[in-house]
Symmetry: C2
């Protein structure tokens, strides 16, 4: 009988949900301690009802000053941003903010392992792009005839594809292992 290929591809989950499940898996197995940072919120008003929890009644989203995830793996500081796009042929650089690149650049210079995880949601393909290459793409956009987005073809070359698996869902630390050994080489 023909063997059916098992697909662990994303089933309507967001990249964030997949990464959080992956990080929970790594945490439970004591492989890494990596967490999503909470979304920064400016609290303006809080009600303190009797006998129940404080209720925030007025608050606003603030712009994050860093990236989505950080933590430690094999003694290395890990810092990364997660981004999704519905585009099919390229990743628009406008998805990043200046300060996120600045943050990653500083962490990289201090010896951290920094990267972005990009999901093409309509294609359901996920890539890990190491910071130095992301930075190259980021900078070329300001040059004459600079591209405003990274073509998928170039991502296929510059980045590592992360294939969905059963557990963890997005085994990105395998790729981090490669980044670490390349750096030590």
């Amino acid at each position: 009988p023909k063997k059916k290929k098992v697909s662990y591809s994303n089933r309507g989950m967001t990249l964030e949900e997949d990464l959080n499940a992956t990080n929970d898996y790594y945490l439970l197995r004591k492989q890494a301690v990596i967490h999503k940072k909470p979304i920064p919120i400016q609290v303006v008003n809080v009600d303190y009802p009797r006998r129940s929890a404080a209720k925030i009644t007025e608050a606003y989203y603030k712009r994050a000053s860093t990236t989505d995830y950080n933590g430690i793996y094999k003694g290395h500081y890990i810092d990364f941003e997660a981004k999704e796009t519905r585009n099919k042929t390229s990743f628009p650089l406008k998805n990043f903010h200046d300060h996120q690149l600045t943050h990653m650049k500083m962490c990289h210079e201090h010896g951290g392992v920094c990267f972005v995880i990009i999901r093409f949601s309509t294609l359901n393909r996920v890539f890990l792009l190491n910071f130095p290459l992301l930075y190259k793409w980021w900078n070329q956009q300001f040059e004459e005839k600079g591209k405003k987005s990274i073509p998928l073809k170039e991502i296929e070359t510059d980045a590592f594809e992360i294939n969905y698996s059963l557990s963890p869902r997005l085994p990105y630390l395998k790729i981090v292992d490669q980044l670490i050994s390349e750096r030590n080489a």
Copy 2:
């Protein structure tokens, strides 16, 4: 003329404000990239008024699953909690939650530099207590006749006092340097 001793002691600022100012200083000087994590908030309801920012109208504080601060310094993963007490003679261990200790223990085991910064606000004295010694104190409380708080006298012995300075306000990385060199020794 008698020289007046300049005091940089805390002038009504919270420990968090002092640490944030200190981290800004370290960031600007490119000495370290260490940030306070946002407070985790569960958003229940959001209004989207025309022509103005999204307004959160119902939200609740969630319990933090990690510590207050993390980042990178000289290639090392740094992770710490900041705590204030109005007590004058001891630091109550109930200020910590189980999961905070668990988090620090895991980060420590992965090679991170983990500690707590404790401020005795009425005395205006600040100490850095390295994780292994904090953990010793944490565990003894569950033994027979275990202490429920760490006496200040013991903190003076086990911890490093951080003296306020003009800039940065709380030069804690000097002490982290010591922790790193002790570990490498």
